[in-house]
Amino acid sequence: MVFTFNLKVKVAEQEVFEALDQVVLCAAGFGIDDEQQNLLRLSLEELLLNVCHHSGLPSSAVVDVALVLRDGVLRLTITDSGPSFDPLALAAPDLDLPIEQRQIGGLGIHFVRSTSARCAWQRLDGCNVVEVDWIIAC
């Protein structure tokens, strides 16, 4: 059985948060448990807000979000038409520093990397395509 869900989201914060609820609700419909739903929400929020804040795209631009559950793998794919940029190549934050001395940024992509089984970026047909996979216990 393959489950798929596709959504177009405008590059605006309010739209992003509405989309998060829709995608997570859809994952629940796929039978994904609460813990995995939270990991999905975590990565999706980070990646979509990254496009909102850093891509330079206008708020009228649209990002494609796809969620597919196939053979025990849940794959999130986010496609935007902004300038070429690999968010997954960002340096990891220094987690050894006491939290009072930490830089505030950089945690989001660390979460995407740390909580997924695989994440990858490619430039395809003039778009940034980010894929994040999780292994789903059946």
Binding site: E13, V16, F17, D34, E35, N38, R41, L42, E45, E46, L49, L95, D96, P98, I99, E100, R102, I104, G105, L107, G108, H110, F111, S114, T115
Partner: protein, 126 residues
Amino acid sequence: MLDIKRQAVLGKVVYHLQGRIDGQSSEPLYQQIIKAEAVAPKSLTLSLGGVDFVSSAGIRTVIKLTRWCKERGASFAIASMQTGVAKIFEIAAALPSASVFASEAEADAYFEAMARKANRGDDEDD
């Protein structure tokens, strides 16, 4: 969506939070706290028993509150975290072990002990 309740007793302030601390709710939460605590409390505790999701924006808010308290000489604690939320803090290595407690009562006992210790120190100085 995040519900916020504030409880203050003898300079000890506890925020009971319920919902998600995410990119939408985290900055309003921070602003609400620093406005409400114009006079720095002795201690500030975030009680997260009702919080089922924290994103990096939420972690950043906790880091900012940790700094804000330190600058004002206030103790800061997190209490009653759900397992999934604790896991996110662990991944971020954002759990200062001295100020994370299983319950508000445990946090309260710690602050009381610290206050007694500080008072003894003051007495010895006299």
